[in-house]
Amino acid sequence: MGHFLIRRLAGAFLVLVLVSLMSFALIWLVPGDPAAAFLDASATPDQVAKLRSALGLDLSLPQQMLGWYGRILSGDLGQSILLNRSVTAALIERLPVTLSLAALALAFAVFFGVAAGIIAAVNHNRWPDQAVMTTALLGLSVPDFWLGLVMVLVFAVSLGWLPSGGFTPFLQSPSEWLRGMVLPALTLGLVQVGFIARMARASMLDTLSQDYVRTADAKGLAKLHVVLRHALPNAMIPILTVIGIVSGALLGGAVIVEQVFSIPGIGRLIVGAIASRDFPVLQGGLLFLAVVYLAINLVVDILYAVVDPRVRLA
């Protein structure tokens, strides 16, 4: 297990180095000038030059790169150009919002996805199976921004059941937090339901054909008992991996959903940073998301290794 952990940590570190390089490379790759973006069309070249100097954009790229690595190694992600605060502070402010949105969306996705997968597998090649698979395919094909707007039109505008957007902190009012989070979390989660459902179906079909399940069936145990107590635990092993992948996708999807529902999370911070060329926020945000994504995958890998010893020996 120790070797397995070291291998995984080393891999994660390598990925982080690569992500940090790619984050820095944004300065080369993305056209546009933060100074020009910050000032309006009537700015004089002198004003632009002054701002560029204040932002350190007039330094050579190796100097900027050394500065960037020097700062991140000391835990400093730099200062936002636009937000008048450190990147770390801006990320920490928004972290609980995005994590709570992603967690709720994950809960929706796992609950509905696994349930739909089981229903499809148990009814293999019958109409419930086909209905679930068709719906799953539809879910996978629908863009989340479109789904979000439809959700708003139906549940906020027409029915008036839920707010169309905005965010109330959990500590301020748990009920308002939940009301505000339902539509964005559903939007974010539903797109992933199809993915989990398809994987859960395949895994469950595989498990249901195993001898020990047939034995349990032959013993006359109730069908539900066989499925949930005997088949599901083993079927969950590949599903766990999928949940890891989905968690990453949810963080990515949050970028769009937070924009549609006006939720002040990390996704919205990053979109704003792209539009304004706030490179420190963009670089820090991407690095931060990569760390969270790697951490989730690491946890999933460890869980996987705990459940299935063959994994850590591979």
Binding site: P31, G32, D33, P34, A36, A37, F38, L39, D40, A41, S42, A43, T44, P45, Q47, V48, L82, L83, N84, A90, E93, R94, L149, V152, L153, A156, V157, G160, P163, S164, G165, G166, F167, Q259, V260, F261, S262, P264, G265, R268, L269, V271, G272, A275, S276, R277
Partner: protein, 512 residues
């Protein structure tokens, strides 16, 4: 006679009754949420020229002078001004009845500190560039001396672009972006949640300008009836409209034409037109061929059908007007109208033949705002008719502005001028001085602008602005397509709202 008396009495009674009903309708209370498309980069009003910041900060902060309904500078925190005969010394008596949101009384020291701070960190340093010294010449009097006479000084002082807001001296001592948000305005700051909202509450200690008789631009009598005003940052237009329809916001800062039409048929909502909001401008890069050739520029100017451009780019909310200032402005001028909106293909071809353009593709850069892309497309189609090949490059604002600020990589660039014509003739001329926007110096513009700044006589200043506008057309320095507006939408319960450059939440109230 008796008939007249009876009629007069009836009229007076009717007016009194109407007035009483109006007074009854004006009730304190209510919370308004305004959906705005961008978050303010800062609430330190002095350091940002962002529209999103103005929307919020002009409810919190006030300036010595502010613009009235016709954008003319009028006293706000100053009682007035005495200008020396040489035009270099301005003495401002400061109002004595004003209290900041932290309870401190406004005095000359606050004004001096605020003006000095703007000179150091203000986002539009040109506004205060003419100032030599600022001194408190009394407890409630400030004297400003200029290096040289500047006819636009009161215009500058009252500009809402990056307002020269008056802070308590203790705050003005702080560096950019580090202030506590404390002003003298009708609403005071409550909280700013990044990427979410800014919340303001009515300031019951507010002292409206006694000279004001009612709402008047950014000046006048500002009466706050609402309990709170919240600006919620909602970048998606569809989400803002949905929020208005769902009752989550009471005012939408901007809606597109089709949405305005749809909501306009529903009596739960009111559509407001802010007209004009900006000028659609098409710039030439005169640093390189072919736009460095006046005949080429004149050919393009003659060819374009500006009405077609405006009708498609800003359907339902545009007006044709050759002036580089808004209608109603003191110096609004029709000079140059003989060359405006001609769509004269024959003349254009003749002028093009005289120019150095002998074929080849030239580049039109535009940001991804729909009306700007439409403008570029229409120019491309029209110029094809006279034999000019145009390639369009569309990117986001940071990318396009980076190219447009340089003398290579583009021939045409289009975008709106909103605040400049509002600020007045000095601001309209400024982007062309030193070749800033056209990338090549134009001695005639530089001469006119310098003379305009130094000239204190109103009639001569008007003549100078006319000369500027004539030169813009005669040399086709750049082209104005027309004036455009924006639609705003509110709940019909929001009463007495009058559109202006920002959604003003004074003088308005909410009906239950």
């Amino acid at each position: 006679m008796a008939k007249h008396i009876i009629f007069g009495a009836a009229l007076a009674a009717a007016l009194m009754l109407g007035g009483a009903q109006n007074a009854l309708a004006q009730r304190k209370g209510g919370d308004v949420v305004i959906g705005i498309s961008q978050a303010p980069p800062s609430l330190d009003a002095q350091i940002t020229s962002a529209q999103a910041s103005r929307n919020v900060t002009l409810h919190i902060f006030e300036t010595l002078y502010a613009r009235d309904e016709n954008a003319k500078p009028v006293p706000e925190l100053a009682e007035g001004v005495t200008i020396s005969p040489d035009g270099k010394t301005y003495v401002f008596p400061i109002r004595k009845d004003v209290t900041f949101h932290n309870g401190k009384k406004l005095d000359a020291a606050d004004v001096v500190a605020s003006l000095e701070r703007y000179r150091k960190v203000g986002a539009s340093p040109a506004l205060v560039a003419a100032i030599d010294t600022i001194k408190a010449s009394g407890e409630h009097e400030v004297t400003v001396t200029l290096k040289q006479a500047q006819s636009t000084f009161l215009d500058n002082l009252s500009s809402p672009r990056a307002p020269i807001a008056i802070y308590p001296a203790s705050e003005a001592a702080k560096e950019a972006g580090k202030i506590e948000v404390i002003g003298t305005g009708p609403y005071k700051f409550v909280e700013y949640r990044p990427d979410s909202h800014v919340k303001l509450t009515r300031y019951d200690g507010y002292a409206p300008n006694p000279k004001g008789t009612g709402r008047d631009g950014f000046a006048g009598k500002k009466e706050a009836f609402l309990d709170t005003v919240t600006f919620r940052f909602m970048p998606e237009g569809g989400a803002r409209s949905a929020a208005l329809e769902a009752g989550q916001i009471q005012f939408n800062e901007t809606v597109d034409g089709p949405t305005a039409k749809r909501l306009g048929t529903d009596n739960r909502f009111t559509i407001h037109k802010v007209m004009p909001f900006g000028l659609q401008v098409i710039k030439f890069n005169q640093a390189q061929a072919p736009a460095n050739d006046v005949n080429f520029r004149l050919a393009v100017q003659a060819a374009l059908d500006m009405e077609e451009i405006m009708a498609i780019s800003y359907a339902d909310i545009y007006q044709m007007d050759p002036s580089w200032l808004y209608p109603g402005a003191a110096f609004h001028s029709m000079v140059g109208s003989d060359k405006y909106n001609k769509s004269d293909i024959k003349l254009a071809k003749e002028l093009l033949a005289k120019s150095s353009y002998k074929g080849g593709k030239i580049t039109f850069i535009t940001d991804n705002l729909r009306p700007n892309v439409d403008t570029a497309t229409l120019v491309q189609q029209k110029l094809k008719e006279i034999g000019v090949e145009v390639d369009i490059t569309v990117a986001d604002w940071p990318t396009v502005s980076k190219i447009g600020f340089t003398p290579t990589g583009w021939t045409f660039w289009t975008h709106g001028f909103g605040i400049e014509p509002y600020e007045g003739p000095g601001s309209v001329m400024a982007p062309w001085v030193n070749g800033l926007s056209q990338q090549a110096k134009d001695p005639e513009i530089d001469r006119i602008a310098a003379a305009f700044n130094a000239e204190m006589d109103e009639t001569k200043r008007k003549a100078l602005f006319d000369a500027f506008q004539k030169h813009m057309y005669d040399a086709a320095v750049a082209m104005k397509a027309g004036n455009y507006g924006i639609f705003q939408a509110s709940t019909a319960k929001l009463k007495n709202f009058k559109p202006y450059r920002i959604p003003r939440m004074w003088g308005v109230w909410l009906e239950p």
